[in-house]
Amino acid sequence: MGNHALSYGAMLGRSQVIAAYPITPQTQVVELLSEMCADKTLDAMFIKVESEHSAMAACLGASLSGARTFTATSAQGLALMHELLHWASGGRLPVVMGNINRAMAPGWSIWSDQNDSLSQRDTGWIQFYCANNQEVLDTVIQAFKVSEKLLIPSMVILDAFTLSHTYEVVDIPEQEKVDEFLPPFKPEITLTPDDPHAFGGLTSPEHYFELRYKLQKDMEKVEALIEKTGREYEKMFGRYLGIVEEHLCDDADLIFITSGTMGSTAKVGVDELRKEGIKAGNLRIKVFRPFPFDVVRNVIKGARKVAVVDRNISYGHHGMFFQEVKSAVFGHSDGIPIFGFITGLGGRDITPSTFREIAQYVREKEKPEENIVWIGVKK
């Protein structure tokens, strides 16, 4: 299942310290990792912490000591870690974390929704949104490499149940080849008495600014590094990850912009629309942070209309992918109408007919009349 793909990624990546707390629908990730540590398939220390906040705290301590660390969580757990997400990025600690996108409570939900991870988009973490189990495994391994090179933490994100619990055939690379691709984590500076430093001390206005400037500057190098790492991975394992997945966008009049598993559903929707003579296409964004401004602009520049589909909402504003796409396009690709749709919150099913409905709506309008078009709400 998708969760196990995360575990295998963490195992093949030779994680050294894992600290995690169970939460539906992430539990299988940590259960399998627990077994792997117990039977020594994975040589790692598994700290069975008593909360997600402690999970991230333990990972940060271990990462600072020079160990490769991994954890996984979802929704409430991710929110509980929030303070420490800032710590990871500000402290330049390359923790890799799996997050299962699950709706934030209340109402208490275990089903798919992107608000949990998108609420953390400002914390300085690289964010990957996956749509199939193979992608999950490949992304985790590459995330270690990218994170450790630039010392910025990453999260690899899966939809609850639709991806986390769906079984698919996955090609599991050989450990030796992964070792060749991903050398051990050997940071220059770590917490050690042989070279004592005080990390994370009181930082005055004289100094804080430059430290954060440096983080952003390094974030700006991430996209190119993901591409480069992706090409290296392709050479060794035959699969290229990429920043986005384009499906029939070249000649499309209407492009859907999607993420996660609904991006796969969108492809089916696109194919159906194409059969009816509608030139639809789908752009699935795989890397959300750093946001791929140029790639997105480039793909949509030939389209007549763009429909961004969000499984999330920033209350008092709009869908978050919608916000970000519009900001990417502002001042460029002038004039392409960008429509924002919100659907699927709390795990409400997204099907190919969702995309037909969206296409129908867009066809009837010259340009967007509202910033949020709700699809599927019982009004």
Partner: protein
């Protein structure tokens, strides 16, 4: 003493000089906390019994042992008075700082 002489205030002129993560690259020894005090301890070595108690109870490591005798490092002594208070032979006097 050597450590003290090496410590200096650190000024970064550009972001390039900053370490990547916020970490210390210098010692607080540059910070002469002696400037904090209003009264200072003076040891009367004639009556000192070399018990080491003043050295032991100094929170600022401002009493060092030189040739078996306690010596106050006035660069750092904050004038808390613990040495004078704890000295069993009462040979440390707290006197007003000269202006």
């Amino acid at each position: 003493m050597k450590k003290k002489n090496r410590a200096q205030k650190i000024i970064f002129k550009s972001e390039k000089e900053f370490p990547l993560m916020p970490m210390s690259v210098g010692s607080m020894l540059f910070n002469k906390t002696g400037a904090w005090r209003n009264i200072k301890p003076v040891i009367d070595l004639e009556n000192c019994i070399q018990c080491g108690i003043c050295w032991k109870f100094c929170p600022d490591v401002a009493i060092i042992i030189e040739d078996e005798w306690p010596v106050i490092d006035y660069d750092y002594c904050k004038g808390c008075g613990l040495c004078a208070e704890e000295c069993p032979s009462k040979c440390i006097a707290m006197v007003e700082e000269e202006k």
